[in-house]
Symmetry: C2
Subunit: 788 residues, 2 copies
């Protein structure tokens, strides 16, 4: 344990001066970004008009981040390390912009922010300014894979980045506010899933600056022995750096980093020489004042070291001359004239400890993962497809067949693909992958266990949030993955996927950010087959959630059977910069399309199924639309009933795989033109549409279409319980009998016997209710139904 008072000198005086110069320069630049519109080098006395009209930004966290960045630079330079920096604390933008400007990585990607007077002026002015850059470590900041706008995900991202990068060290600064979130609290356990042989290292740095926006932080206010137990309980060996006097703190941090680096290498060497056992990785606890080196007391109140330093420590600089003078004193305390030459370039003493080229953390290629991305060697989905000589005469479990395809993906690509899921890979029937890989597991393994291994590539932990965070980190550093999840519980990561979609939307607009693999969800164990798990497990709303987000990024697929699932999965694994949501069942489902038909149908995204339609050459009397496997089966069962009862009716069956096809082409890149839409759904005939999720989503997507008034949508309307699969359909009025009733109620001028058919359908629904209450399972006519 290192503290500021007891450490022997790790740095020579000149080394200390270099690290300190870099730190002071970064602190100066961070403060300058928050305040200065002009006069960036204080070459003249500071005046009111040099100050920004709106003071936005967060000083509190910046000096600590700058301190760590400077010291990690020294460590990288000394050992030629491949290291990334993940900024957990919110609003760390000023610090990271300062450091990447100083190291030159920022000017390389944003040439107008030159390393001179004008560039400095631009750097300051653009910060939190219209048309400028955000206060977070957003995609605009080179070296970042983690924005830190929403808190809690830094450590999960860091582990995701470290997987399969054995030479990489990911330094991850965790704010003490962030540390209170659930995702961060469980992310500490990620050490039980990191393989010291084949993965890189994560160095968590818990930054206790003591305060959040308005409160002390919990971990900063428990006794140190308790914090020590907590971190040891999480499986780490804590190292402490505590204090506020810069000289002592520099020595303490340098000594600690030297120790910690030696420990990381020792762990890796031992493991790679074959010594087994889960290592106790080091963690650093940095306890330093919030707003360190900033104004100590303002208007008689303590600011440095308290929550009052969180944002703008001197808030009235434009109005209050005393604040203006205090700001100038503060800025000059860094001695800018020693840090920058007369043209605004950082002096050599400032940049001496900064590494060169791709060793600079802002230029590390892992943080611009698309640079390193190689396409997966994907198997041919058709080769894994199931034969379908005639539609609906055989059944398969779609996800089970997909599991065999994914096994082949693993077999072909051993190093850049992982599967993520909250303890559900086998439940979701993807377990064929265990033929070629295992579940990652570094904790104890007992003889009875199956498919656990230190180098397993299936990531299972009972936290959707940790799975999501790992996958994001893995993708952002240039690899591939798939997240399989119970549909209802995907909502647990609603907010995380929001942030990833926002990141991708901005990332796509930044020329130097290279495309990365899409984030692919397989939502299975879905609403229609959670009859046995009950109401809590029934929720199709994740689709609605993502459909609200940027259409540049979001795609939603509802493959109706096994071969379409394979085709969609293949497409998604090849795609870039998207969030793809695939919803597919794990239960036996009729096969409708053979592999070739499936590929064609998926490429079109939506289409008429002529073989299921009657009089396909005629303008239909009614269109039966469907999206999703359960709705498709019900629509086909309804079509079959109609064919038998009302054979003269021209029924067109239209299946939609790519949900965004329903939107206008002006709203989504996949959207159909009105001409295409009308050709498929007609301009004026009734459309009975059976949809997997909440029915109003179809209205929301299609409300601008000519024929929208004729759309009648069935779907899940939050009527669920513990019951049978078919009863779920009946409860929500999406069963075949109800669909036939819907047709009869909406098609004009039907034959007179339609009334009797309608009556028969109602009676079938009644029969169903009686049957399940007596037998506890669905009627044989439903269970044994086939299309043929």
């Amino acid at each position: 344990m290192s503290t500021a008072t007891e450490t022997a000198a790790a740095l020579t005086e000149s080394e200390l001066n270099e690290v300190d110069a870099l730190w002071r320069a970064a602190n100066y630049l961070a403060a300058g970004q928050i305040y200065l519109l002009d006069n960036p080098l204080l070459t003249e006395p500071l005046r009111r008009e040099h100050i920004k009209p709106r003071l936005l930004g967060h000083w509190g966290t910046s000096p600590g981040l700058n301190f760590l960045y400077a010291h990690l630079n020294r460590l990288i330079s000394r050992h030629d390390l491949d290291m990334m920096f993940v900024t957990g604390p919110g609003h760390g933008g000023p610090a990271l912009l300062a450091n990447t400007w100083l190291e030159g990585s920022y000017p390389e990607v944003k040439p107008e922010v030159t390393q001179d007077f004008e560039g400095l002026r631009t750097l300051f002015r653009q910060f939190s300014f219209p048309g400028g850059v955000p206060s977070h470590v957003a995609p605009e900041v080179p070296g970042s894979i983690h924005e830190g706008g929403e808190l809690g995900y830094s450590l999960a991202h860091a582990f995701g980045a470290a997987f399969d990068n054995p030479g990489l060290i990911v330094a991850c600064v965790i704010g003490d506010g962030e540390a209170e979130t659930g995702p961060l609290a469980t992310s500490w356990h990620a050490g039980k899933f990191l393989d010291p042989v084949h993965d890189g290292a994560v160095l968590p740095i818990l930054h206790l600056n003591g305060y959040k926006i308005a409160n002390p932080a919990v971990l900063a206010r428990i006794p140190e022995h308790e914090l020590d137990e907590l971190l040891r309980g999480y499986g780490y060996a804590p190292y402490y750096v505590t204090g506020h006097e810069p000289g002592l703190m520099h020595q303490a941090m340098a000594a600690t980093l030297d120790d910690v680096y030696a420990e990381i290498r020792r762990i890796q060497e031992q493991a790679r020489e074959g010594v087994s056992g889960r290592p106790r990785w080091p963690v650093i606890v940095l306890r330093s004042p919030k707003g360190w080196t900033g104004p100590s007391v303002v208007d008689g109140k303590q600011v440095e070291g308290t929550w009052r330093a969180h944002q703008v420590p001197l808030p009235e600089v434009r109005e209050n001359p005393e604040h203006l003078r205090e700001l100038e004193r503060w800025l000059r305390s860094y001695r800018p004239e020693e840090l920058f030459d007369s043209e605004g370039r950082p002096r050599p003493a400032v940049t001496a400890v900064i590494p060169r080229g791709q060793r600079r953390m802002g230029a590390n290629p892992h943080a611009n993962g698309g640079l390193l991305l190689r396409p997966l060697l994907l198997p041919d989905p058709a080769a894994h497809g199931v034969p379908v000589p005639r539609p609906g005469t055989s059944s398969d479990e779609p996800t089970r067949v997909l599991g065999r395809y994914l096994k082949d993906v693993f077999a072909r690509d051993g190093k850049t693909f992982r599967l993520f899921g909250p303890d559900e890979t086998a439940s979701n029937r993807l377990d064929a992958v265990y033929d070629v890989t295992a579940k990652a597991w570094q904790a104890a393994i007992e003889p009875v266990d199956e498919h656990l291994a230190g180098d397993g590539r299936v990531m299972e932990v009972l936290s959707e949030q940790l799975c999501q965070g790992w996958l994001e980190g893995y993708l952002l550093t240039g690899r591939h993955g798939l997240f399989s999840c119970y549909e209802a519980f995907a909502h647990i990561v609603d907010s995380m996927v929001n942030q990833h979609i926002k990141w991708l939307r901005v990332h796509r607009q930044i020329p130097w950010r290279r495309p990365i693999a899409s984030l692919n969800y397989l939502l299975t164990s879905h609403v229609w087959r959670q009859d046995h798990n009950g109401f809590t497990h029934q929720d199709p709303g994740f689709i609605d959630h993502v459909a609200n987000k940027s259409s540049e990024v979001v795609r939603v697929y509802l493959p109706p059977d096994t071969n379409t699932l394979l085709s969609v999965a293949d497409h998604c694994l090849r795609s870039r910069d998207y969030v793809n949501v695939i919803v597919a069942g794990k239960n036996a489902t009729p096969n409708w399309l053979d592999p070739e038909q499936a590929a064609l149908h998926c490429a079109r995204g939506a289409g008429m199924w002529e073989w299921a339609s009657t009089y396909p050459d005629r303008e239909p009397d009614v269109v039966l639309g469907c999206a999703g496997d359960a709705p498709t089966m019900e629509v086909l069962a309804a079509a079959s009933l109609l064919r038998g009862y009302l054979p003269e009716l021209a029924v067109r069956v239209v299946n939609v795989v790519d949900l965004m096809r329903l939107q206008p082409d002006t709203e989504h890149p996949h959207g159909m033109s009105d001409r295409e839409f009308d050709a498929l759904f007609t301009a004026d005939r009734p459309v009975i549409f059976a949809y997997h999720g909440y029915p109003w989503l179809i209205h929301r997507l299609a409300y601008r279409r000519h024929n929208h008034a004729e759309f009648h949508v069935r779907g899940y309307k939050e009527r669920g319980t513990t019951t049978t699969p078919f009863d779920m359909l009946v409860l929500n009025d999406m069963d075949r009998y109800q669909l036939v009733i819907d047709v009869i109620d909406r098609v004009p001028d039907l034959a007179r016997r339609a009334g009797a058919v309608r009556q028969a359908m109602s009676e079938a629904r009644e029969r169903h209710h009686r049957w399940i209450r007596e037998h506890g399972e669905d009627m044989p006519e439903v269970r044994n139904w086939t299309w043929a």
Copy 2:
């Protein structure tokens, strides 16, 4: 530390026999529910037709839950305790149904499940059966406030229940799967917020049965010293009960509970005598086999003590005669003839340790919180209102005024109301409440701190999930609360609010469940005023999320100014069994309505603002609709521009406070009839609607209306960045100039000069772009705009 081998006898032989008999009876009933359609007492040899057709249910967790329930019963009886039981492990239904049947609390609320042969048959048959009961500890189960369908929230619920209940002990069983979730991982820290003087006690019981669905659990596979450090690091004193031999385990658990109970009382007594300092509360770790006492080996594979015991340990009972025989052996191993008399009644030896009346955990009134609920003594919102002699001539910060109202709520009701928020109460400008209460805080307090106290009633921790879980637990036990949150980050609790809404929907249908206070969200720091925090902080989608859920439960309010916010808050705090979402800004907002007008407008939910309309007696040429504070201001600014530029135009301004008024009355209880809707929005005139959130939500709510084709909605369309407030409106085409353009583009037969007005509006938008890039703030004509 107690283990099964080293403990001195805590139970006499007859006590041990009683506890064991209750445990065996509960185990028998749990297994019976999973398997038996008939022959519930095994009065004849078990035959295939006695077995359910679909075997659904989860055996694995049941014996551990039953073991704990039996021992807690003994403790309650011995000390006459007021105790609740929270079941964290998923699918714990069979165990809790068994125990509440045995104690008689279940038959009291569901009279057909009598304590006799027929009742037993019904108990077994209904489980996971159509028309029956779910496999979770759903609202149907008396004594439950926590369903456990989605994992992670048990401990937060338990703490919520304990707040302000100084005599209550909440025993909370945490599954080792659940323990991997983020929310549970951070919930351990709740001990830093529980006041030993005025709050009750939470007794966490971490049940390590070793396995999840398909994997070992992390906490079960770390060394015990590491687990011990972790729990101590979280601030607890761990007690261990480890083993599998029932006799030894009974002694160990009884001794441990005696110790733990004594320790809880010692902590409380000391604190209540004035000894300060955060106590180290006890936690029990129960390490017992998964599927304990069930089939040990099935088909040659180890089942008991492994993940294979998770669901149905003998899966082929109807098909495989050996499985059937094994099931009968297993069930008879509990010796049902000793447990139930010939009529199916539990024998006195079984019920001997069960407490009586409301001491039974299934009959504890806290778990049916509506029984204890008393209305808040609410202040008059009008008394807190701001005077508004003329609309739009003054401004207030709505949430700041609400803070003064909430201060009064606290002042009047010191014991049944709390405010929850993730470190944002002051940021959200509700800090007037600190005049009368403080933030709860049991960790160290430094001299510089403000508004922290052990008995504070404002709950701040940087975890939206913990806030939500606490509030749910608090409400479900009969109290009141408000959760204030940055709008964008409410998505963090999407999945939690789903589950609470599902709970409420079922709860409302259960006659014996009494109405509880609504869960009230105040979403502030909203999308239109997160210009400074940037894109990550801009998301109005929580409204869409809840709007998908049961209309019986969900209400959404968008008060446009200060007095309407007060009226809505008052209404929500009086309401029962709802989830109310209030979206309101914290920034200065023009006052449109005086307190009386506000109350009337809020009661109507939507209405025409005659004072803002031109020619209010005429059928309008165009309707300007608005919902939300920022949209309302833009609509009024647009109306003002139209009045100046096109004075002959009849413009009707309609404001919507209660968003669900837009739905048809057939879809939502607050929905307007078509007649009302047409009277407000006309049947055929253009409607330009400015909405707070994603514009398509308005279409989704109004697509069935006659005039829907004429609805043109502006709202947030995911175009955000770090910029100025007015630029956020311009980026999303909801600014006043665009709204005027929309009117000109849609109203037919306008005066010829409309073209010039349109041009002027476009130029104003251009001027805005240039201005903000130069000045970094909005144009004076925007910043200084007033209605008058």
